[in-house]
Symmetry: D2
Subunit: 141 residues, 4 copies
């Protein structure tokens, strides 16, 4: 599979996630072990102080981690767990999550993700995440 086919496949998967469609997530880059997932910020993504809700930032990190892990493991996967540090207020026109695989071993991939906010002066790091992606068993989330 070449790069364009791989990206097209990833976009097909993303399009089958109603919650990703609801939030407007876009797969901007996708290759084995590496992914960029973005989101244009809209009023409905906000919390009460005019910034993106933590839940939007963590959705983006979670899903980027899952796609990164899945691209490396080459099978259906789920996120077993992750942690996220909110480093700065998530203000801007868009959010961009870039995730990559740190290590794979057996049925799991340890992945990291940085989430950036697109602001007038450029991109600002707003969150850092790390988690475990595992092969999906028969009846797993």
């Amino acid at each position: 599979m070449d790069n364009a086919e791989f990206l097209a496949l990833g976009r097909q998967v993303l399009a089958t996630q109603p919650f990703s469609v609801l939030l407007g997530a876009r797969l901007e880059a996708f290759q084995p072990g590496r992914v960029t997932l973005a989101l244009t910020l809209k009023p409905e993504h906000m919390q009460q102080h005019g910034m993106a809700h933590g839940g939007v930032v963590s959705y983006l990190a979670d899903n980027a981690l899952t796609f990164a892990g899945g691209s490396a493991l080459g099978v259906e996967v789920i996120t077993a767990e992750f942690k996220i540090n909110y480093a700065r207020p998530a203000r801007g026109s868009a959010l961009i999550a870039r995730a990559s695989v740190v290590a794979t071993s057996g049925r799991q991939a340890v992945c990291r993700c940085d989430v950036w906010a697109v602001q007038e002066g450029g991109e600002v790091l707003v969150a850092a995440a790390q988690g475990t992606i595992v092969r999906r068993a028969a009846d797993s989330a």
Copy 2:
């Protein structure tokens, strides 16, 4: 402030979060150090396998942690960080997040949250989370 006033205040805050309104989150219980936040599962909350997307589960955990921490610290707060383990598939009619404060010290509260799925046979634990809630500085998320 009595219990009913405290709950009413919490619901006012939740209503000012557009993302919480988008997802349909409801504050079902709220007292100092303890919160119950729920969500009726709808088609737009799903991922591709017919279960709630991890991002919905983590939104609920994140926000429940924030409310629990805020209720204990008594000031405007933000979630500095959290981690979540997805324990079982998030299938059911609704999700219920119950969060409480483990310890407060100075300007932070360490909180835990369990997320349950309401299924025919009763409630099933689908995720466990833990995080740090801190006082909100002037320009924080």
Copy 3:
């Protein structure tokens, strides 16, 4: 296996860990899904401010999580990951870690652990941890 045999087995396993012997860890209670691991604090456990080093606290949490998970899964296990929040200074005569299983599914157990410091006035919570214990594969740590 009755309770006394189960505890004796756990103590045998602990005694085979040179690092646990170096730190003086003691298994005080051990039953399926639940464990108490303790440590008398000595000068060599300290950091520069006269409190137990975070590494001692995290060792105790990590190992308690592993024993809790192992007791539930009933096989050789390893800690895949964990997170720990240091809630208060770890001062006192001893540390006590109490861990239990939150959920098991397939080959993993999600566990939580509280670490308490024994002080003159009683026990004080100094750390809270949460992690994933998995079955040990052929060549895993």
Copy 4:
């Protein structure tokens, strides 16, 4: 302060931590926002399968995160929380933790750390960590 003075200062701090002395940790590099902390593996660092105990790996990650955060914040600091993923068995002659600052904001630094095992064929990544370092208050750990 030039690089050599900065490193010398860091080594002085490390030498005041009895637990770090017990484990034989060495500060190999130290500059604002970046640190390398190493440890020669000895029999007393092992668990029951001939690999470094998770507690040794997590000690090294925890302390490297703390030094990285402290070097950036320029004040006395403590680790508020961290998470660690054990990616591969920690076998080898030594462990090397390399930590750096991801973002600072106000009184906290978000840091990441990779822990490598020195094996015959080279270095192998055995763990990945991420955590929050904060300014130390008057009576904090």
